[in-house]
């Protein structure tokens, strides 16, 4: 008999998870695999079931159906305190009546570690999160970023099997958030900890995670490496939630090479990344930054007029009106105009185009 079976799946595996609150189905038939040492981000709009999923892993909610395994061991029946996890909340959740050191040492004390060993570990952690010498202060005396680092230290010191992060940076301001993203990511990598991150901030998900799982309505729509998900969205929702997208609806032309989309002045042909079955209905997504603008009218491309131009620092966002399509599209261009202005200006006539392979066919979901 082979003994492979049980220990095959290292890391965190959720299978067929379902959870309803009354009539509201918060999570529907969800499968997720977080590999050993990997950080997966659950990304989705408010109310899509991210927190519920995380809380089921933690053991604060019980799934109606499905299994949760860590390193091949089914944990659904275990109470939270026996699951050996770490968790960081958005509001830090540090014990206000305990010092920083006591907060960090809490899990060790619960595990029954002797004080001297505990103190050594606490100091090690304080060093790791750059809070040397602050062990004796109370959490309320620390800044938000420092508190979050203490929370991180507190959850990591027990060497958890899986680290759960629920919007860990939501309460911090933007610049601090960015540096904390690197810090958390660096620490998770160095310690090789399996981690599940919940966020509704796509930038945070993309910069921290090995894999991003885009959720909507209690389901995971797509999971993959950030670049993969961004460049190859499978559905309209993913294309529009992760970054921005211009979506075209239509059917495939008889020769299979272009998308025929209706317009006020008659059908318009748009190029497709690859040949498709003639006649079928399709959605084509093109990222604003993949669109090319040229001044004046050109033989190829769509004639358009600039109706909005916004300077955004490293790039400019344009809104252009396309009479042939009867709608407005978004175009992002690298800031390459003269300093102090955008390249194109309101009212200018431009031609809009994109390379055929930059378009992505997405499902309507």
């Amino acid at each position: 008999m082979t003994v492979v079976g049980a220990r095959l799946n290292k890391g965190l595996v959720l299978t067929g998870i379902h959870k309803s609150y009354g009539k509201v189905a918060a999570v529907k038939n969800l499968d997720l695999h977080v590999d050993d040492g990997e950080l997966v981000a659950l990304l989705g709009p408010s109310g899509c079931g991210k927190t519920t999923t995380l809380r089921m892993v933690a053991g604060f909610e019980t799934p109606d159906a499905g299994t949760i395994e860590i390193d091949g061991e089914e944990i659904s029946a275990l109470p939270p305190h026996k699951r050996r996890l770490g968790m960081v909340f958005q509001n830090y959740s540090l014990f206000p009546h305990r010092t920083v050191a006591e907060n960090i040492g809490f899990g060790l004390r619960m595990a029954g570690m002797a004080k001297s060993a505990r103190d050594a570990k606490i100091n090690e952690m304080l060093d790791l999160v750059q809070l040397q010498g602050r062990g004796d202060v109370y959490p309320s005396k620390l800044s938000g970023g420092q508190q979050q680092r203490v929370a991180l230290a507190r959850s990591l010191v027990v060497n958890p099997k899986v680290l759960l992060l629920d919007e860990p940076l939501g309460a911090l301001d933007k610049s601090l958030r960015e540096s904390m993203q690197f810090e958390i990511r660096g620490m998770q990598r160095r310690l090789g900890i399996t981690a599940l991150l919940v966020t509704h901030d796509q930038e945070e998900a993309m910069s921290m995670a090995d894999k991003v799982a885009v959720m909507n309505g209690g389901r995971i729509l797509q999971i993959g490496a950030p670049a993969d998900i961004y460049d190859r969205p499978k559905s309209r929702f993913v294309a529009e939630f992760l970054g921005a997208s211009n979506i075209y609806e239509g059917h495939v032309s008889d020769d299979g090479g272009s998308l025929v989309t209706p317009g006020p002045q008659g059908p318009v042909r748009l190029h497709l990344p690859e040949a498709q079955k003639a006649g079928q209905s399709l959605l084509l997504s093109v990222r604003p930054e993949r669109m090319v603008l040229t001044l004046g009218e050109a033989s190829a491309g769509l004639a358009a007029r600039v109706v909005g131009a916004v300077f955004r620092g490293n790039y400019a966002a344009y809104q252009v009106e396309v009479p042939a399509l009867g709608r407005e599209l978004f175009v992002y261009r690298q800031a390459d105009g003269p300093l102090g202005s955008t390249t194109y200006h309101l009212g200018q006539v431009v031609t809009l185009d994109w390379a055929a392979q930059d378009g992505v066919i997405v499902s309507a979901e």
Binding site: M87, F95, F106, M110
Partner: protein, 287 residues
């Protein structure tokens, strides 16, 4: 979202900014006329002997005479007992109210304060009706169920007085504790659990320490009210002697007003010490 951090602005500074001082004048006048002056008068009476000279003899006998010491001790013990029982009954109720009751919390709060809406005399007679020799309880035990052959002597005992006091005072305890429990972020408890604390440890490591303030406030309230309780003890106490009863006796029987004043000063000192204790408790936590 509730903020669980313990930041406190200095209350002194804030008070100074609130309003021009003269607005406090009516309140100050009221306090002076109806509180400070009677208090001074009372204090004076306790140290002026019957022939008009200064004397501390009343305090000396109150604090050295075994009989009086026993009365003071009994007063404090009674209040302490009522307080402890109120905590033990009140905490679980408050916990249930905040964490488990959900939409029934309104009903529970109503049931809690309903007894306070009846007058103390009515409530006390209610207890007598329940526990009298031929009252409801004895009736049930002897006639209906036949468990006992003769009725129990239930009224006029310290136990019944304590029960009656707990009955009225528990709502204060519950509400004090519930207010504080309400403010505790449940994610703190969840953090403890994730870090390996079972439910019991979570309670003793997180919930209880964070709700000490509520227990403190409730305890002070209950202790002070129990300390000064009179009607309940007169009607149900079965001859149990406490300071308020003694003061009443000094007025009505002995007509020794000086002694009554001295006793009430002692009662006051006990109450003030309580407040002081609570202040200490709050300040210690604010580190």
């Amino acid at each position: 979202m509730s903020d669980t951090s313990l930041q406190k602005t200095s209350p002194g500074r804030r008070m100074r900014l609130l309003a021009p001082p003269f607005l406090a004048l009516p309140a100050v006048l009221f306090l002076v006329v109806f509180f400070v002056m009677p208090l001074i008068d009372n204090g004076m009476r306790s140290v002026i002997s019957n022939d008009g000279g200064f004397t501390l003899s009343r305090y000396v006998s109150l604090l050295t005479d075994g009989f009086y010491l026993w009365i003071i001790a009994q007063t404090v013990l009674l209040s302490a007992g009522v307080t402890i029982i109120s905590i033990m009954i009140g905490y679980p109720v408050a916990y249930f109210l905040v964490r488990k009751a959900g939409r029934f919390s309104g009903l529970i709060i109503f049931l809690l304060i309903a007894p306070l809406l009846t007058s103390i005399i009515m409530r006390t007679f209610g207890w007598q009706v329940l526990f009298a020799r031929r009252g409801l309880v004895n009736n049930l035990l002897v006639d209906q169920l036949g468990i006992l052959s003769a009725p129990l002597r239930l009224t006029n005992s310290p136990e019944i007085a304590i029960a009656a006091l707990v009955h009225v005072l528990v709502p204060f305890m519950v509400l004090s504790i519930a207010t504080v429990l309400q403010g505790i972020d449940t994610r703190l408890e969840e953090s403890a659990k994730i870090l390996g604390a079972n439910r019991l440890r979570t309670f003793f490591e997180v919930t209880l320490p964070l709700s000490l303030d509520g227990i403190g406030t409730g305890a002070i309230l209950v202790f002070m009210i129990a300390n000064g309780s009179f009607v309940t003890l007169v009607l149900l106490g079965g001859g149990m002697q406490t300071l308020p009863l003694m003061i009443y006796q000094q007025f009505n029987t002995t007509r020794d007003f000086g002694m009554a004043s001295a006793m009430s000063m002692i009662l006051l000192v006990i109450a003030v010490s309580c407040l002081f204790l609570q202040l200490r408790l709050v300040r210690r936590k604010g580190t």
